[in-house]
């Protein structure tokens, strides 16, 4: 459905997106995730047709919409977009906003589709209002159905939750995912918030400094990050030093772990092993002791910071009823399912 091949975008000499490639199937929801300034919005705008390509090609339904020779105007792409500030037209009523993109339809059909969409987001009685008379969450829903009204081949969402209250975000994210899945819409979301990405998207692309470095499911990103940046960016964890013993073993201060070692690492090579809080279990019976040096209360859990005898620090997540105080000595063990290790620079 969407095929982005080796795309680069530049503002003058400043290359903002470099060699990005990805594919989306019909009905699949993708996401560009990354810190601000990583080029994710620019890549989205290139797909929408607001930025010309310096290199590469973008195909929608096997038809080229952008490459170095062709640049189809945004209005000819049949790609819908939900903007960060919603960009609702303040001079039009909610109904007229929704009908804006349906000029090719008859009046009665426009009205029917408008009503149907308003019902879908439970805002049936708000059609005659003006955007400034709606709450942020309502504006958000109208912006979404306005973009859906002309039945776009692809829907782009640029940081759609960034102006929302934190409590609203999750609720809206789930609602939007349900609508997109229900309507079988192919979509791409841009966000800097990994929770939003995990909630909404099927496939997530992490972007750093203009490069799309990993394009994978959320589970894979978390447990098998492609590089140290992604490991650190997604979720929490700490790096501890290790040494490659053989092809399948790495020696760490905790224990010897048996997993494949990073490519190009020979025995004796120093590596950084990434340990997530869920890889560490507190265990009274364990001979491995550590001291608790930090505690963050998280409601259902405590996030403890442990210090080993050699000074290495680790994180662990425990149920709220496992309450320990700072300075306590506890037993712990490593419970690694995936070893994530990167060569030490």
């Amino acid at each position: 459905m969407l095929n982005v091949k080796n795309v680069s975008v530049a503002y003058g000499k400043n290359v903002v997106v470099e060699g990005a490639s990805l594919q989306l199937k019909k009905g699949e929801i993708g996401c560009f995730l990354g810190p601000s300034g990583c080029g994710k919005t620019t890549l989205l705008r290139a797909i929408a047709g607001f930025e010309p390509l310096q290199q590469g090609e973008i195909l929608v339904n096997d038809k080229a919409v952008s490459n170095t020779a062709i640049h189809l105007a945004p209005e000819k792409r049949n790609i819908g977009m939900v903007f960060q500030d919603f960009a609702l037209f303040p001079h039009l009523t909610v109904e007229d906003n929704i009908a804006f993109g349906m000029t090719h339809l008859k009046r009665a059909e426009q009205q029917q589709r408008t009503q149907q969409l308003l019902e879908m987001v439970s805002l049936k009685d708000y059609g005659k209002r003006y955007p400034h008379e709606l709450s942020g969450g309502q504006q958000q829903r109208i912006a979404l159905i306005r973009a859906l009204a002309p039945k776009p081949d692809l829907l782009l969402l640029d940081e759609p939750f960034s102006s929302m209250d934190v409590e609203l975000r999750e609720e809206l994210a789930i609602e939007i995912r349900d609508i997109l899945k229900h309507e079988n819409i192919t979509a791409i979301l841009v966000t800097h918030d990994q929770n939003e990405a995990f909630l909404v998207a099927d496939t997530i692309g992490v972007m750093q400094e203009g490069r799309l470095t990993q394009w994978a499911e959320g589970y894979e990103l978390y447990h098998e990050p492609a590089n140290a940046f992604i490991a650190d960016f997604i979720g929490q964890g700490v790096f501890i030093e290790g040494e490659v013993l053989c092809e399948h073993s790495i020696k760490t201060p905790l224990s010897i772990v048996h997993e494949k070692v990073p490519e190009g690492c020979k025995p004796g090579c120093k590596v950084n092993v990434f340990i997530r809080p869920d890889d560490i279990l507190l265990d009274k019976t364990s001979s491995q002791k550590a001291k608790i040096v930090g505690r963050e209360f998280r409601g259902a859990n405590f996030l403890y910071t442990l210090e080993l005898a050699d000074g290495n620090r680790l994180l662990t997540l425990e149920h709220s009823h496992h309450r320990h105080d700072i300075g306590d000595e506890v037993g712990m063990k490593l419970d690694l399912e995936h070893v994530v290790a990167f060569p030490k620079k």
Partner: protein, 560 residues
């Protein structure tokens, strides 16, 4: 913290008499004095109608009303087409000299309508260079050809449109630049072409701002006296003037002025309404850099031409004509009496601007220190004069002042056998009062926008470090406000320089300003001689235009 929040606030502040606030009293006093002329004129409707009114109603009133309406309609078409197109081109498109045009297009503001009328009369009249050349080339005689008559209502519409379109241009341009690019891009993702998006999104969004610009241009049109008088068109302003000086009937003149106030208030309502609408039409706080449509070839040339023509006809041609006249007549016109006339005018304008800015400072500070609705209403009323034509203000001042003078004179004569003559009316005092009423809004706007840039937390910081309110004013505001005060002074100064009808009515005997001198010479068909004072007005008038264009280019985040 705020202790007031603990006690329930009475809903209406009007009824707190315990502690009369100095600022409230001062503001109300100023508002009363400033609205005196309008109140006097308005009260004229309660006076009995005399036979002059009957005559007026029978023969002239319809003409005044129809001509005023035709003028406003024609000027609307003119300023909207010129203002909106040039604003769109310079804000959203890219073509050669775009940045240069974006400030050149403001220049016609420097020329008062009556002066541009003189120059085009000189250019296009039967004896003017254009018709003379035409006859020489073709060999036609006097009655062999038709040529548009510039001294007509159509001509007046053209003259007024050429110098008033910048109001629409400024407002529309600011609106286009402030629009969220998101709204335009959203229209593209919903299937609109760029042109389509202009008509369906950009123009409707800018409409309130455009209407504000239009209402300002129409206020000027309604207030115009110099152009219509010179072209011999009967409108409200010329009618009031004629009734006052020609017929000598102050009552009927006031009644005519009262009728004109109806139009004035309609325009004020239009302006208020559009400014209110504009608040809802602000789509985004986020200003991304505008990506302009790159125009090429024929389109770029057309855009270039569309921006050149208003500047050419609204400023360059008239200015060249004035310069030419000045060079041909300089020997006779620039003499000691011209210098004393200039000095006289400058002193008058300076005095008026100092008075207006001082009052504006009082009002603006009152409003800053006490955010009560009463003060807000007082400031609004005090600054209504910008919408009231100079002719009306002059009538509204002349009537009570003449009454006071004659009452005082007869009282003094009866009791002390001294004739006091004219103390208020027919003196510079009346003139200064009229200028202050008319241009107070100009200085209030300038001062308030400057004061608004000083954050209230700065006052609080000063107070917390032990400064009294007066010390805050002296040590924090004044140093920060110096530029603002100078700007306000300059704006009022230039407006006084250009002012014609009120000066004409209220000036003391044998007292002249540059504007009045230009008007007298032009009325005597001595256009070339009128050019020297006229050019002087235009040259000084360019200063605020430069300030304005600089302020605009610095304040737009989306502009580069």
């Amino acid at each position: 913290m705020k202790p007031q929040t603990l006690t329930a606030k009475p809903p209406v502040k009007f009824f707190i008499f315990k502690k009369p606030n100095r600022w409230v009293i001062l503001t109300i006093l100023i508002a009363l004095i400033m609205s005196l002329p309008v109140l006097v004129v308005g009260s004229a409707i309660f006076q009995p109608l005399n036979e002059n009114w009957q005559h007026l109603k029978e023969f002239l009133l319809a003409e005044y009303i129809i001509n005023s309406l035709i003028l406003m309609l024609g000027v609307s078409v003119g300023v909207l087409s010129m203002g909106v197109i040039t604003a769109w081109l310079t804000s959203m498109c890219e073509f050669p000299h775009r940045r240069l045009f974006s400030w050149l297009l403001l220049l016609p503001l420097a020329i008062p309508a009556y002066i541009i009328a003189y120059t085009y009369t000189g250019l296009l009249d039967f004896a003017g260079p254009i018709q003379t050349t035409l006859r020489e080339w073709t060999g036609w005689g006097i009655r062999d050809y038709w040529f548009p008559e510039v001294r007509s209502i159509g001509g007046a519409i053209a003259m007024l449109s050429l110098v008033l379109y910048p109001y629409v241009y400024m407002m529309a341009r600011a609106a286009f630049l402030e629009q969220s690019i998101g709204a335009l891009e959203a229209s593209r993702t919903l299937g609109s072409t760029p042109l389509n998006g202009f008509f369906r999104v950009a123009l409707p969004l800018a409409r309130p701002a455009i209407v504000t610009g239009l209402s300002l241009a129409l206020m000027e049109t309604l207030a115009d006296f110099g152009t219509v008088q010179y072209f011999g068109i009967g409108t409200f302003t010329t009618g009031i003037f004629r009734t006052w000086f020609g017929v000598g009937d102050g009552t009927t003149a006031s009644q005519l002025a009262a009728m004109m106030l109806v139009f004035v208030f309609a325009l004020i309502m239009l302006e208020r309404w559009s400014r209110k609408r504009a608040k809802f039409h602000n789509t985004s706080q986020k200003h991304s850099v505008i990506k302009r449509f790159q125009l090429k070839g024929k389109m770029a040339f057309l855009a270039w031409l569309a921006c050149l023509l208003p500047v050419l006809f609204g400023f360059i041609l008239p200015a060249l004509q004035l310069l030419y006249w000045v060079f041909t007549t300089a020997e006779e016109t620039i003499d000691a009496s011209f210098f004393s006339l200039t000095l006289n005018t400058m002193l008058l304008a300076m005095a008026a601007s100092i008075i207006a800015v001082s009052i504006a400072l009082l009002l603006a500070y009152g409003r800053r220190l006490h955010k009560s609705q009463l003060i807000g209403a007082g400031v609004s009323i005090a600054s209504l004069g910008y919408a009231v034509p100079g002719t009306v203000i002059a009538v509204g001042i002349m009537t009570p002042f003449a009454f006071i003078d004659s009452a005082l004179n007869s009282w003094m004569k009866a009791n002390f056998d001294i004739s006091t003559g004219l103390i208020f009316s027919g003196t510079v005092f009346a003139l200064l009062f009229a200028y202050t009423v008319r241009f107070l809004a100009v200085s209030v706007n300038a001062i308030e926008s400057g004061l608004g840039k000083i954050k209230p937390t700065m006052d609080d910081a000063g107070r917390s470090m032990g400064l009294t309110p007066l010390a805050v004013l002296r040590k924090i505001h004044l140093p920060l406000m110096r530029g603002t005060v100078l700007t306000a002074l300059l704006l009022v100064f230039v407006d006084v320089l250009k002012e014609l009808p009120a000066t004409l009515i209220l000036r003391p005997f044998n007292f002249n300003t540059l504007a009045v001198r230009a008007h007298e010479l032009a009325a005597d068909e001595r256009l070339a001689d009128a050019a020297t004072p006229a050019l002087m007005i235009v040259l000084v008038g360019i200063l605020p235009v430069i300030l304005l264009s600089r302020a605009i280019s610095h304040s737009r985040a989306g502009e580069q």
